[in-house]
Symmetry: C2
Subunit: 294 residues, 2 copies
């Protein structure tokens, strides 16, 4: 009975995100395997770095003619990225898995998720009758995979992505607490709730077009969002970068442009002018530091 | 066994909101009573208009020295508005009630809500582990009311309002579909979901500082938000205004300033540049028209 956390990287940026995610899971003492699906869009260098952290690096290419998704894709090319995520159901060497987007970060151990049934997930903030597909508990199965491909071909996805498809395929999903997939924007949308429940958050999700790896300057103390980005960068700097070849570090630096950053921060700040107190940032940093020094 | 929809108005603006809400419930053929709690902030004129639509207009004043909430409030004055909403549990002439904020609008009959247990509600989009207190099913009870007051005094409210208090008091709330309390912003946050599920929406909630009664110019065809505001104004113009005294119509016109409006629309539009097609607006208008002409 082998269980695994599964993630997916389609670019080097997401690859570095996956490195940080992997370290965040390990630093909280997970007893499960780590597995990553990568597409050819991830460079050899990043794949090599990923193999130092992940037990299993699986190269997938939905456009391979030998691939079972190939024919389906010819009919619905717009679902390409969706199909890539569906590959996780083919990982039948595992009995149960937790899928995590590469733009998530574990703040606590989440291994209790493996006691949950397929398909377990947390509400999406945009339309809470749907689950957010950034985190979900699933059971790998070739049969389910084939059914998903068939469903995608015949019904498509109402949002053009994996979230719409999976929500239609699993209408009776099991609801998990928001603390297992806390969208970083939520602390701005309903700050009092974040102040009340934020300490329970186990997994934070950097939803949106600006990702932590776009730059460290968003990691400002004094805001909840800044503290999460800061936590990401602490793990990157202390656990990921030291074992990365110099050329990869330089390659990655180029990914994180200041431009993306400033734009991102402005957007966050425009959403809601309130911030968490400085204490929260210090607490999160002290906690992460304590995990790293263990 | 008498059941009722219950709402609350603290100002004339909310009073007019309640008039439209009441008509929207009646136009969809509700078989339940309509009851409204009003504070002295609502003018005599508006209260008189409300009594034409609501079976029961209950004047409440949490600062009355004879009021059971008075002593509690002296200790926690910041919870004043919260305490007003708690009054709905004192309506023990009803066996079960559905509370609706005065800034909600029924798009379909929602009487099936009365089959749900206390406390039933829909997820809040900001933090979906919480329910949004703009709509909830409850059972009036003097005992629950006293417990709520005591809870408010001793524990307070994590967001300073009724939503925080009620979520803490009813931690095991029963989850209803988002279609029973669809926040008007949601169609912008996750437009594909709105396109997929929007036709099922039964109750829309105009959350935020700009309300439909702030002006008709937001009622523009071509956007989901505009169509909801348009539906509100159609009911106001065709069902509410004709039976209002002229002085009240003029009083109300002054409430709806163009300034609020333009600002409101800009904020909505800045959030998400996409709009629903013109067809949706036409469909909603045609539907409302058909209900009115019945």
């Amino acid at each position: 009975m082998t269980e695994a956390y599964v993630t997916l990287a389609t670019t080097d940026g997401y690859g570095v995100g996956a490195l940080v995610l992997g370290h965040s899971l390990l630093s909280h003492g997970t007893t499960r395997q780590l597995c990553i699906l990568v597409t050819p869009g991830v460079s050899e260098q990043v794949r090599s770095a990923l193999s130092q952290v992940y037990h299993n690096v699986v190269l997938v290419d939905v456009m391979d003619s030998g691939d079972s998704a190939h024919l389906a894709l010819l009919e619905r090319p717009e679902l390409g990225i969706t199909f890539t995520k569906l590959h996780c159901w083919t990982l039948t060497q595992y009995t149960k898995c937790v899928f995590l987007d590469a733009d998530t970060l574990a703040l606590q151990n989440t291994d209790e998720l493996f006691t949950q049934p397929e398909l377990s997930a947390a509400c999406d903030v945009g339309w809470p009758d749907c689950f957010n597909s950034g985190m979900f508990v699933f059971v790998p199965s070739q049969e389910t995979y084939e059914q998903l491909l068939d469903f995608a071909k015949t019904k498509g996805s109402f949002d053009g992505g994996d979230q719409g498809l999976l929500n239609s395929f699993f209408p009776n999903w099991h609801r998990l607490s928001f603390v297992y997939n806390m969208v970083a924007t939520a602390c701005y949308t309903y700050l009092p709730a974040f102040k009340e429940f934020g300490r329970n958050v186990k997994l934070v999700h950097f939803l949106g077009s600006t990702k932590p790896w776009h730059g460290e300057s968003a990691a400002q103390p004094g805001s909840a969002y800044g503290s999460f980005v800061g936590a990401w960068w602490t793990i990157y700097r202390e656990l990921v970068r030291p074992s990365m070849p110099q050329s990869l570090v330089e390659h990655f630096s180029k990914l994180s442009t200041n431009e993306n950053l400033v734009e991102g921060r402005q957007r966050w700040e425009a959403g809601r002018p309130e911030y968490m107190g400085r204490d929260s940032f210090d607490n999160i940093m002290a906690y992460i530091q304590s995990r790293i020094n263990k």
